[in-house]
């Protein structure tokens, strides 16, 4: 089997199809939003645009989780933490962009610090006025946390459920920490009331469209990156680690290094997803760290189907669309549906939606072709 290079990852069929569908949908939505007037039946509202952008961020997050869970067998119940950290880094930049337009009109301090009677900016807030620095933080903070955490965990061979539980404890501890006002990230309320990003107003339709396109591009790039990683020689070793870690170790691979590498990449992708998510929803608060969010993310991937990459994306979009519809129609039923989904998927569909389709694909194809054969023969008669 030939190992894929970045170029082949870009040109392989799955990636081409995926990117094609993604960009087609995004472009269609953007065009319908921009070209048709608001009362037209074909108009796509800005609300829908933002919603789509949000879904794409979730999809990117699910992709990141699929990389570690589907391919490396690490069930992280703390990926929401990396997502939220990326979001907070972006939130800090957006907070600094408010300048003196806050409620208290203080040019040097964000509103919540004025409210808490702080006199000067904490040291870790310096520098985030610059976008490049914030962007660096978005990549570095989740990446570094994942690196340190993974280094400690994988080196001492914490695996399976133990790892899942301590990742959950990690995000829980971070949630408790971020709820504290003293930490300097807005406590309970988090960071909000953002005005603009790189000079573009966040309320403007064009910015929303721009953010949607940025999310789609990020997702596409991440997808190709993940295809490349999983198709490369390293990806093969990672698969071996998932299926038989001890054997891979005995053969001579330093399995912990491979796991650490994949875990860190995944955390960085999650951080990027969070950074794109925050300007679209306009708020980031400690609730994003809650263990429930992280575990909900796991079910997206499970519903879509593990170890396929596009399955994670489909799962994230399907479940979140379901959530939007359900919480609108009957809010009480959503948690029942979500809970039922967890149970049904794990018990009856371990391969997820994509697995079900893949298993039945040959049958379906045969039936389809038989139908067309019959039709043609009928026509002939």
């Amino acid at each position: 089997m030939r190992h894929s290079t970045f170029k082949t990852a870009l040109t392989d069929r799955t990636a081409r199809h995926f990117i094609g569908v993604l960009f087609a949908a995004t472009l269609l939505a953007v065009l319908c939003n921009q070209l048709f007037p608001a009362d037209s039946a074909l108009h796509v509202s800005s609300y829908t645009i933002t919603l789509m952008g949000k879904y794409l961020c979730y999809a990117l997050l699910a992709l990141a989780l699929d990389l570690v869970w589907g391919y490396c067998g690490i069930l992280s119940l703390g990926h929401g933490a990396f997502f939220a950290l990326g979001g907070y880094a972006m939130g800090m930049y957006l907070m600094r962009q408010i300048g003196d337009r806050g409620v208290y009109g203080n040019p040097t301090l964000p509103d919540f610090m004025v409210f808490l009677n702080w006199k000067e900016l904490p040291w870790y807030w310096h520098g985030v006025d610059h976008f490049w620095f914030a962007a660096l933080l978005i990549l570095l903070v989740p990446g570094l946390l994942a690196f340190v955490f993974g280094w400690l965990a994988f080196r001492s061979r914490v695996t399976g459920v133990y790892l899942s539980i301590i990742t959950q404890a990690l995000t829980y501890a971070l949630m408790l920490a971020f709820f504290r006002n003293e930490l300097g990230f807005g406590g309970n309320n988090g960071l909000t009331d953002f005005k603009d990003l790189l000079g573009f107003s966040l309320q403007a339709d064009s910015t929303r469209v721009g953010l949607l396109i940025a999310s789609a591009v990020a997702l596409a790039v991440a997808f190709v990156l993940c295809r490349w990683i999983t198709g490369s020689k390293l990806g093969r070793v990672v698969l071996a680690v998932r299926d038989a870690e001890s054997r891979a170790r005995f053969v001579g691979y330093r399995t912990e290094h491979y796991k650490l590498w994949v875990f860190t990449v995944s955390a960085i992708l999650a951080g990027i997803a969070g950074a794109l998510y925050v300007p679209q929803v306009g708020i980031i608060n400690p609730g994003e760290f809650s263990p429930l969010n992280s575990i909900e993310l796991v079910v997206w991937v499970a519903v879509g189907g593990r170890a396929t990459l596009y399955g994670a994306v489909i799962g994230a979009i399907v479940v979140n669309y379901g959530k939007t519809v359900f919480t609108g129609l009957m809010p009480e039923a959503w948690l029942f549906a979500l809970g039922g989904l967890f149970v049904l998927v794990t018990v009856f569909m371990p391969q997820g939606l994509t697995g079900v389709v893949q298993q039945n694909w040959p049958k379906l194809k045969a039936r389809l072709s038989r139908n067309t054969d019959q039709e043609t023969s009928n026509d002939c008669a």
């Binding site: 914490v158 920490a177 575990i295 499970a302 809970g339 967890f342 794990t346």
Partner: protein, 551 residues
């Protein structure tokens, strides 16, 4: 290891039992007689009250003292009436009566019989005027009377009130009382009062003795008084003695505060133990990750609430019914979960985790729909409220005491069940090697269901206990699930003694960190510690050894 912890537990238990026995002992203190029935021929109360009509405060004081010496049930109400300005001078008849304002007029009553006498105009009667000095006298006389009361609570109150009082009569009465008092807590108050009074003596030796004696006294006023001595005294010897006594008091307060923290830590630990012990069975013995464990605790708490609603008149003993009821409800739900979900997922721990998490969402939402998302309050029975006051700075609240005992009882019962019964033997066999156990004729499916039911039932019992401490709401379980997992993993999976040690260890550590770092930060520190600890020792404090550990 097990033996060592066992000894530790006994070392903790024994002092408890002894001190409980000691607290019950001095109940036979009914041989108390009034010490001030000196006047042999009780005079008519009316005659005694008569001088109150006069203007002279001296004569009034004499009358009050005389009144206080009478052995009549009317004395206390009359003294109180005098304080409240309800005792009037009826000008027409020139006598003292009780009065009440009715529509601007006075309704007069006889001071002894309380019979209505007459109704007079506003100006025809005047409240007996008293000044501050008389008020003190009345208060002292009232205190003196209750000091010799038959009720020990009243005596305690009175002695407590007299601390800091320097009236020679009072001190004489206190000394007198000290000779006959049998209740130790009343005696302690009297001694404190006398020692504080002795600080004002003219004799330096008396003062020094008093200062020395006060050094072992934890009453809150003592420290203030000694500080006052330190500031005001001219004598260096006295100052040094006061400083020494203050240091002694502070050291003792600190020790008791440590004991207090340990007690709170133990009670938090026993809550953790209750929450985690069911998990220790399902996770530790069966290897099943049950994320719905917290919700099973919640179901137990709601069962307590429902039982109380069904038996509205019997809060005192509805808990006794709630415990088995919660065990059954949670146990049944647990068996259902095992039969319909977990059975299909044995050997796939990560999937089990996800599926049971789904179950937990469903249970939470079901409770929200049935009972509303608002918190419900469970009434705490009277015998659980209140505290056991050991000294002025150290008390043990009953609900926490009971929960510590309850947790230990549940723990021991579970241990006995696993070690001594047939079911326990089967459970251990299946958990060690399923195939061999089956080959030997154990129905492993049935054992699985029962084990899971047992673990869930214990979660329900934990819910009953938690309902006494916190509000009962749909999120009750969620807040304990991570802590419970931490306890089980920290202690070492599959080791009940490890769970016990981890629960109490984490509870006490948490409470010691709290004053230093604040509640939230303490929790974070503990979490981070566990995360790091697991990375050093992935199998917990007391890892399982042998073949089972390798799987």
């Amino acid at each position: 290891m097990g033996h060592r912890i066992c000894r530790l537990a006994f070392a903790l238990l024994l002092p408890w039992l002894c001190s409980l026995a000691w607290a019950e002992a001095p109940k036979n203190s009914t041989t108390i007689e009034s010490a001030t029935t000196a006047d042999p021929a009780p005079r008519d109360l009316h005659t005694i009250l008569q001088p109150l009509t006069e203007r002279s405060f001296d004569k009034k004081e004499a009358a009050i003292r005389q009144l206080a010496e009478q052995d009549s049930p009317r004395v206390v109400p009359l003294l109180n009436a005098l304080m409240d300005r309800d005792l009037l001078h009826w000008k027409d008849q020139d006598r003292i009566v009780l009065g009440k304002k009715v529509d601007g007029d006075w309704q007069l009553y006889d001071p002894v019989t309380e019979q209505p006498l007459a109704r007079v105009g506003r100006r025809d009667a005047r409240a007996v005027v008293i000044n501050n000095h008389l008020r003190t006298v009345i208060n002292n006389q009232l205190a003196l009377r209750s000091l010799n009361s038959k009720n020990s609570d009243e005596r305690y109150q009175a002695a407590n009130q007299l601390i800091g009082n320097l009236d020679p009569d009072m001190l004489a009465a206190l000394s007198q009382r000290r000779e006959v008092e049998t209740r130790s807590r009343v005696l302690d108050e009297i001694t404190t009062a006398l020692n504080i009074a002795a600080l004002h003596s003219d004799d330096l030796t008396t003062r020094l003795n008093a200062i020395d004696a006060l050094g072992s006294d934890l009453h809150p006023t003592v420290k203030n008084t000694l500080n006052q001595v330190l500031r005001q005294s001219d004598s260096e010897v006295e100052k040094a003695a006061a400083r020494k006594s203050i240091d002694r008091i502070e050291a003792r307060i600190e020790r008791f505060q440590t004991a207090d923290t340990i007690f709170f830590g133990l009670s938090l630990g026993s809550v953790l133990l209750l929450a985690a012990i069911g998990l220790a069975i399902t996770f530790g013995v069966m290897g099943v990750i049950n994320m719905a464990h917290g919700e099973l605790i919640m179901l137990g708490a709601y069962t307590t609430y429902v039982v109380q609603q069904l038996l509205p008149d019997s809060h005192e003993w509805s808990l006794i019914i709630a415990i088995p009821a919660a065990f059954l409800v949670s146990g049944l739900v647990g068996i259902l979960i095992e039969r319909f979900v977990i059975r299909y997922l044995y050997g796939r721990p990560l999937e089990t985790l996800l599926a049971t998490f789904g179950v937990s969402l469903i249970l939470q939402q079901a409770v929200r729909v049935i009972f509303s998302p608002l918190n419900r309050t469970v009434v705490t029975p009277d015998w659980m409220s209140g505290a056991w006051q050991i000294n002025p700075v150290f008390s043990l609240t009953f609900n926490r005491l009971y929960i510590i005992f309850f947790a230990l009882t549940v723990f021991l019962a579970l241990l006995t069940l696993l070690k001594k019964t047939r079911l326990g033997l089967q459970v251990r066999a299946v958990s060690q090697n399923r195939n061999t156990a089956r080959a030997l004729g154990i129905r492993s499916e049935r054992v699985n269901a029962l084990t899971f039911g047992l673990g869930s039932g214990i979660a329900g019992i934990a819910g009953v206990a938690l309902a006494q401490l916190t509000n009962v709401g749909p999120n009750l379980g969620q807040s304990y699930i991570i802590d419970s997992f931490m306890v089980v993993v920290f202690g070492g999976v599959g080791n009940l003694w490890g769970t016990l040690t981890a629960a109490f260890g984490l509870g006490i550590a948490n409470k010691f960190l709290e004053p230093v770092a604040g509640a939230v930060l303490a929790k974070i520190v503990v979490l981070v510690f566990i995360i790091l600890f697991i990375q050093r020792k992935p199998r917990g404090l007391f890892p399982q050894r042998g073949r089972a550990a390798e799987e």
